[in-house]
């Protein structure tokens, strides 16, 4: 029963020609138009426009780091990715969100040259993923969700091995300092906690100073302080002009880090826009009001876009029994539910 409307929703169209020119600090901001159809409201598609101040513009085609067009992949009869198209520019962080089985991993595998698209094509760093994967790999970093380190090699040996694969000699200590792992340099990977392993994997993805990073749940299993440190590194990499493809279940993280968020559901991209735009256009802004009563407190939620809200707010304010009153922004989680009828984690 879950999401039965969604199966009839046509793929949201992406008008790559819909660029508008805005100029701030002499940099043209990019604006792109998307038509987004929600699962519950597909008769009335929503058109939103996003402007990304972080996307670096320049001459030539090298500003577009990822170009995917009609990417399709099936496992037997199961269609995992269904004609997905999008692009990511240099210096952008794309948050790629979707529930388990939505097609995130398959999309990433195609973009990283691990799977060859069965239909459509994709270019990363200007190279075709199907024919020039090794050229992409030389300039790409990947942080996997699964803990795939060599357990019997030390932290240093793990990183040295991958540096050698790239034909590099790097300052391992300097890299480990960035993820606060220096004191564990001689520990075997199997001796590290899950959080420390995650930090090591993240460090590994940076080993070749990549132009593009594919990060799959990079803060998974980390304590809040470590997670924050990793987020700062991600933002610092973005500031250096690196492009980051971030796959996550963590809506808060996607909201904090992403310039653009892409929602994928049942193999299709159902929305692609800045987090702000998505929340403004598709989320529900509300007022949360806590009212004193004889028995204690009552809570009331007033949707700002509801026509009755002004009158009700006035009544509450006149009542003078208000304990607290807060505005509540829409969350990406709510946007996702509105678009797909599903929760990101835990199904419908």
């Amino acid at each position: 029963m879950e999401n039965e409307n969604c199966s009839h929703v046509p793929f949201s169209s992406y008008d790559s020609k819909g660029l508008t020119g805005c100029f701030i600090n002499y940099l043209p901001w990019q604006a792109q138009s998307f038509k987004i159809q929600t699962a519950r409201d597909y008769h009335d598609p929503v058109v939103v426009t996003y402007k990304n101040p972080h996307a670096l513009q320049g001459a030539g085609s090298d500003i577009v780091i990822i170009e995917a067009e009609n990417l399709t992949y099936s496992y037997g009869d199961t269609l995992a990715v269904d004609h997905v198209s999008f692009s990511v520019d240099k210096g952008e962080i794309l948050g790629f969100l979707g529930p388990n089985g939505a097609g995130k991993t398959t999309t990433v595998r195609m973009l990283t040259g691990q799977l060859v698209p069965q239909e459509g094509h994709a270019k990363v760093l200007g190279y075709d993923v199907a024919t020039d994967a090794k050229k992409i790999h030389a300039r790409m970093g990947v942080c996997f969700e699964e803990k795939n380190l060599y357990p019997r090699l030390s932290v240093k040996e793990n990183l040295e091995f991958f540096a050698r694969l790239f034909g590099l000699e790097i300052d391992i200590e300097a890299l480990l300092k960035r993820v606060d792992l220096v004191k564990f340099i001689d520990y075997r990977a199997e001796e590290l906690s899950k959080g420390l392993q995650q930090r090591l994997m993240f460090a590994r993805s940076l080993i070749n100073n990549p132009d593009i990073l594919f990060l799959d749940e990079p803060t998974g299993g980390l304590d809040p302080i470590s997670a924050d440190a990793i987020r700062k590194i991600i933002l610092a990499e973005r500031e250096k002009g690196k492009t980051i493809f971030l796959t996550t279940h963590n809506m808060m993280e996607a909201d904090k880090l992403s310039d653009v968020v892409g929602f994928i559901n049942e193999g299709r991209i159902v929305a692609l826009d800045t987090p702000e735009n998505l929340k403004l256009e598709l989320g529900k802004r509300a007022l949360n009001v806590k009212i004193r009563t004889e028995k204690g407190f009552d809570e009331e939620r007033l949707l700002l876009d509801d026509s009755e809200t002004p009158q009700r707010t006035k009544e509450l304010l006149e009542n003078k029994n208000i304990a607290t009153i807060h505005t509540q922004e829409a969350t990406l989680e709510e946007v996702f539910i509105k678009l797909t009828g599903r929760k990101l984690i835990g199904g419908s």
Binding site: H137, K147, Y150, R164, L165
Partner: protein, 351 residues
């Protein structure tokens, strides 16, 4: 192929293998098993020993047999003969009647008792029975009943038979190579199961680099372990270049099989299951050395039979390439087939 990637992966695999207790144990067990060499007999007893009790008139004639490599012991009672054979000092005991001569002269059929050690095969028992009949006939007639001509086909090994411990050397070498098959399979499965392969394949390294590196590590370990066994058993002898070539060909076969078996499963337990049966089958030609009376023509369909045969010829009979080239050719053909099969299966798995 990317040489620096191959070098990096091979180096990493070498460290990983040594730090994997199970793999290390497998490598060492091959070497430790060669300790069996030292408990096997180092000489071959070529003298046939005969314990005799009975009519003394026969003794003078039978003692002539000692010149032919048959050692005869004379005993003063049937009980002593039984003890001598039962105790393992003699292979066969013969008890003649006290009045054998008079029984023969009066036309009677004397009753002779033969005692055999329990491990004497039926063929020896039958041969001794015929020998007794002929010797009595000779005694009665005074003439040799047959004219026998003796011709040795091939090299006369009389007096220089290969002791069992030397015959067992090819089996230890084979065992070292088969262990490599298991090691390679484990390395591959481990890489796949831990997901590290996925991490490697999104670097400049290709599946071919990974396969080549693992193959090189496997062959290197094969050579090291095989030669360690030969050194530990003081068996470095014969034509060394030919021996090296034989071990190299065997190593390639083990590695190719390991590559193939490693592609069949994604978990370590599965890999043990998949490798155990081929290990037993491929070890069979080596194990047959310990059971010489069992002749299994089916072993000739097992490629390692030709490996064992070649090692045996090189190490124990000083054979050169001229003698073992047919074995080597068969091994090389199997190597090519198994290598292609292994690479094909692995590339399918990795892609």
């Amino acid at each position: 192929m990317n040489q620096s990637c191959i070098k990096a992966i091979a180096r990493k695999d070498a460290i990983q293998a040594v730090r994997n207790r199970l793999v290390l144990l497998a490598l060492l067990s091959g070497i430790l098993f060669s300790a069996v060499y030292y408990i096997l007999p180092s000489t071959v007893e070529e003298t046939f020993t005969l314990a005799i009790y009975g009519d003394s008139q026969l003794f003078g004639d039978i003692s002539d047999l000692e010149e032919e490599g048959i050692e005869v012991g004379f005993f003063s009672s049937e009980e002593e003969v039984k003890n001598a054979v039962g105790g393992g000092d003699y292979l066969v005991g013969v008890v003649y009647p006290e009045d054998l001569t008079s029984q023969l002269r009066s036309g009677q059929k004397p009753h002779i008792t033969l005692y055999f050690k329990s491990d004497q095969p039926e063929s020896v028992r039958t041969a001794i029975e015929y020998l007794m009949q002929l010797s009595i006939e000779y005694f009665v007639s005074g003439e040799e009943p047959l004219i026998i001509e003796e011709e040795i086909l091939g090299e006369d090994m009389a007096g220089r038979h290969i002791p069992l411990r030397e015959q067992s050397i090819p089996m230890y070498v084979l065992m070292a190579l088969i262990m490599e098959m298991w090691t390679i399979s484990t390395l591959i499965v481990e890489e796949s199961a831990a997901g590290t392969l996925r991490a490697v394949l999104v670097t400049p390294a290709s599946p071919s680099d990974v396969i080549m590196a693992k193959g090189l590590v496997g062959i290197s370990y094969s050579l090291v372990v095989a030669f360690a066994i030969l050194i530990l058993t003081w068996s470095i002898r014969g034509n060394l270049p030919v021996l090296f070539l034989g071990i190299l060909l065997g190593g390639v076969m083990a590695v190719s099989l390991g590559l193939f078996l490693g592609s069949l499963t994604e978990n370590i337990v599965g890999s043990y299951v998949y490798t155990s049966l081929p290990m037993l089958i491929f070890l069979l030609p080596g194990l047959l050395i310990f059971i010489p009376d069992v002749s299994l023509s089916v072993v000739k369909f097992i490629p390692t039979y030709y490996m064992v045969n070649a090692f045996d010829q090189i190490l124990n009979y000083g054979a050169g390439l001229a003698e073992v080239w047919k074995d080597f050719l068969l091994i090389a053909v199997c190597d090519v087939i198994l290598f292609i099969l292994g690479i094909y299966a692995l590339r399918r798995r990795y892609s």
